[in-house]
């Protein structure tokens, strides 16, 4: 464990972008976790509409009289939870499909991967929009849509890794010992194929945040006042410019910083964990 920690510190020391990314992500996580304890208001408290920034409203209030700081801080939670949930859905679904395709091969591989090809031939954001439009404009459905649309990338990556790993000697050994296929897959193949997946997951979290915010900005996230979410806060402000210029700027900046953080961190992890880049 301490060896891993030392390795992480060494990695961050020589990889500046990853350091910046880590700091940004940590900042956002800290805000989401600890922010609600230090801010003066709850996101549902109602005050005067469009109050100027200052006093107990450092960022002012919005068109509904809600404290913008409170909504941004609680919004960090929602945004992160939705992004991580959809990313997890992509990861689990994609890993399953990719692992089965790569491990089973033959007809199953062909069918599954042609399905993945079809899914990837659509522009992913458009596909997500269509999915939410069909399911109905709700935050839950945004998670499902972003999760489904993100899965094919994972499936492809995992399949490639599985194909590489199955020909390794320890897998051949496990097979020749007569272990059942599922055990070989889950104890020997998958754990050794997941490095690149973690990289993809980190990078994907950034783009998931962007997709979620985008879908919510387009009004596909449903009721903007049920829970505060950055994309929804941005839309609400966008329709009320110039009264809500600050709201647009703050929400936009928060999304930008978070996505940048995850992308920098993901890039760093890629350099560190991806076997192809590491060997260079």
């Amino acid at each position: 464990m301490s060896g891993g920690g030392a390795r992480a510190v060494a990695f961050l020391r020589h990889h500046r972008p990853a350091l910046v990314g880590t700091v940004l992500v940590a900042l956002v996580l800290l805000t989401a976790a600890g922010g609600p304890a230090v801010i003066p208001h709850a996101p549902g408290d109602v005050f005067e509409r469009f109050a100027e920034p200052g006093g107990s409203h450092p960022l002012g209030t919005d068109s509904q009289g809600y404290d913008l700081l409170a909504r941004m801080v609680y919004g960090a939670r929602t945004t992160l939870v939705i992004a991580v949930a959809s990313m997890t859905l992509s990861l689990v679904l994609g890993t399953l499909v990719g692992a089965v395709a790569g491990f089973a091969g033959g007809v199953a591989d062909m069918l599954l991967m042609r399905g993945v090809d079809v899914a990837m031939s659509f522009p992913s954001f458009l596909l997500a929009m269509v999915t939410v439009a069909v399911l109905g404009p709700r935050l839950e459905n945004v998670i499902v849509a972003v999760g489904l649309v993100g899965a094919p990338v994972f499936a492809r990556q995992v399949r490639a890794e599985v194909l590489r790993v199955v020909s390794e000697e320890y897998v051949v050994a496990a097979r020749s010992l007569g272990l059942p296929a599922t055990r070989v897959l889950f104890t020997h193949v998958l754990p050794n194929s997941l490095g690149p997946v973690i990289v993809l997951g980190t990078l994907g979290t950034g783009s998931a945040i962007l997709s979620v915010a985008g879908l919510n900005f387009l009004g596909l996230g449903g009721d903007p006042y049920r829970v505060p979410e950055w994309g929804l806060i941005l839309t609400q402000g966008w329709n009320k410019r110039p009264d809500a210029n600050l709201q647009v700027a703050v929400a936009g900046l928060a999304i930008f910083v978070t996505v940048l953080g995850f992308n920098l961190l993901g890039d760093g992890l890629k350099d560190e964990l991806d076997p192809r880049t590491r060997r260079r």
Binding site: V46, R49, S63, Q64, G65, P137, G219, G222, D223, P224, Y225, R226, Q236, N239
Partner: protein
């Protein structure tokens, strides 16, 4: 960036228009004297020009220029009807018949003469008497009419009950347009959809403009002046209807368009720009509408009268009005505020002028009904409506107010294609919705919104109950023609509804606006939002 994209799109749209005109039959707009052309930019496009088969606003804008009705709403006074194809009308002493004297020497665009038989044919078709229509949205409005009879040169409307006032009002709606009898006769034997298509492709009315080109696929209609118009040949020679559904694209026409332009349904945020522009002028008026919170008396969440009365007291108008940027005013009755029947003094039972007292009284009612913490959901249309420009924000404001009296209020948006039918099935306990009248009669509010047939609520009645007393009084009120009596009757109905049913909370009455070039003079816009160019002149 956005501006450039818009500019590019506009340029493309313009190119598209040119090529169409170049290849079209009747000569291009580009080649016609542009000084006599007015471009009308609307939100919705026209698809059907058969006035008897549609209730769509986009269609009605074009239909209004091409077809005429027997009577018309006075643009200067919504409570008055003025002659159109009928020069005068007289109600029989028993109130069961109205005799119309018709304008002489009027011909349709296909040269067929206008007479009583022609009027009867159209009015029968609209009511599906002797015809089967693809859709007859206004036929139920005419259920009190027994028949239209030709009496020499005159037309007699016979009624089942003495409801002449409402029946006359209904004849001012665009659905009551008179279509050339030659066209109608040609549709006999066609199936309903084909008949509508035939009328749409042969739109022969008596109006000041005739259709020159109309292609629903191209979403554009050009109209040319009818020189044989009974009111005299119009000075404005041509009208071009150009639907632009995107709001920001539409408002580009406010500042960028050349020539004479009219832009329909201008959103509030552009009013100042129009007034400052120097080339455009704005005409805004209090529309004949109401935005209200429907409260379902036949739903578990709002079944107790105390709960509904509490909601009546809890919802404050001022915070709702704040969302309209000065284009709305608080309203306390279901009927549109500009109408004489609106009672400015009426307040719901338990009212106090102090908002804090009202909230306290409402909270006490909730406590009495043991409804603290009860989950209630305010449903609202996802898309903005003319009376509801920011549905989510306004719904959320209503939610805040309900929360303040102890209810666990939520909001939920629904597509309007789901919401409106949902109202009819009584699915929603609370629904944020509104109504705009087509004919300016109070019966057109209370009939659809608070009444029903055989004790069953009508499909737009959000309270989902029919109060027997209200029903009887509405039947009686339809028969009152004398203004003072009529006003008193509807104000009494409103009072009973607020006291005994508490099935809605009227919120606001809103303004509507059109913008047009300062070079257009004498344009008539009536309170229902319809405009007429026949007496307009251009600089």
């Amino acid at each position: 960036m956005r501006r450039w994209t818009l500019a590019l799109l506009l340029a493309l749209a313009a190119c598209n228009g040119d090529s169409q005109d170049g290849t079209g039959s009747g000569g291009g707009i580009g080649r016609v004297d542009a000084s006599a052309l007015v471009t009308i930019v609307t939100a919705d496009d026209a698809k059907v020009l058969d006035p008897h088969c549609t209730s769509d606003g986009g269609n009605s804008k074009v239909i209004h220029q091409v077809f005429e009705t027997l009577v018309r709403i006075d643009p200067a006074d919504v409570n008055r009807l003025i002659p159109a194809l009928a020069t005068q009308w007289e109600t029989a002493p028993d109130g069961l018949a109205v005799t119309f004297t018709l304008r002489e020497g009027v011909t349709f665009h296909d040269d067929a003469p206008f007479d009583a038989a022609a009027a009867k044919l159209s009015l029968d078709r609209l009511r599906e008497v002797g015809f089967k229509l693809s859709s007859a949205p206004y036929a139920p409005e005419f259920q009190d009419v027994a028949s239209f009879d030709v009496d020499g040169a005159r037309l007699v409307m016979r009624l089942r009950a003495p409801v002449a006032r409402v029946a006359l009002r209904n004849l001012s709606m665009f659905c009551s347009s008179i279509v050339s009898p030659r066209v109608i006769e040609a549709t006999r034997g066609l199936d309903p959809d084909a008949a509508t298509a035939y009328v749409t492709s042969h739109p022969m009315g008596t109006g000041a403009y005739r259709i020159e080109t109309f292609d629903p696929a191209a979403k554009q209609a050009t109209l040319t002046a009818n020189d044989a118009y009974w009111g005299g040949a119009p000075t404005v020679r041509r009208l071009l209807f150009k639907p632009v559904s995107d709001e920001s694209m539409r408002t580009e026409y406010l500042t960028k368009a050349a020539g004479h332009v009219l832009v329909d349904d201008v959103p509030r945020q552009h009013w100042d720009a129009v007034q400052a522009s120097g080339t455009m002028q704005l005409q805004a008026w209090w529309a004949l509408n109401v935005c209200y919170l429907g409260v379902n008396a036949d739903h578990d969440a709002t079944r107790e009268l105390d709960v509904r009365r509490a909601i009546q007291l809890a919802v404050e108008r001022e915070p709702v009005v704040a969302h309209y940027d000065g284009t709305a005013r608080p309203t306390f009755g279901l009927v549109a505020q500009p109408m004489a029947e609106y009672d400015p003094a009426l307040r719901p039972p338990g009212w106090s002028d102090d908002p804090a007292e009202r909230r306290k009284a409402a909270a006490a009612l909730i406590e009495k009904a043991r409804a603290e913490g009860r989950v209630v959901t305010v449903y609202h249309p996802q898309q903005p409506r003319p009376y509801l420009p920011r549905p989510q924000d306004i719904a959320d404001t209503v939610r805040q107010q309900l929360k303040a009296i102890g209810l666990d209020a939520r909001i939920q948006s629904e597509d309007k294609s789901v919401l409106f039918p949902g109202v009819a099935t009584g699915k929603y306990e609370l629904v944020l919705i509104g109504w705009t009248t087509d004919n300016g009669d109070p019966d057109n509010f209370y009939g659809p919104l608070a009444d029903g047939l055989d004790g069953r609520p009508g499909e737009s009645n959000t309270s989902r109950v029919v109060n027997a007393d209200v029903h009887a009084k509405l039947l009686a009120a339809r028969q009152y023609d004398e203004p003072a009596r009529r006003v008193a009757a509807y104000r009494e109905i409103e009072r009973i509804l607020q006291t005994d049913v508490a099935g809605y909370v009227p919120l606001v009455n809103t303004q509507q606006a059109v913008a047009f070039s300062k070079t257009i003079h004498g344009l008539e816009v009536d309170a229902t939002g319809h405009y007429r160019f026949d007496r307009a002149t251009l600089e």
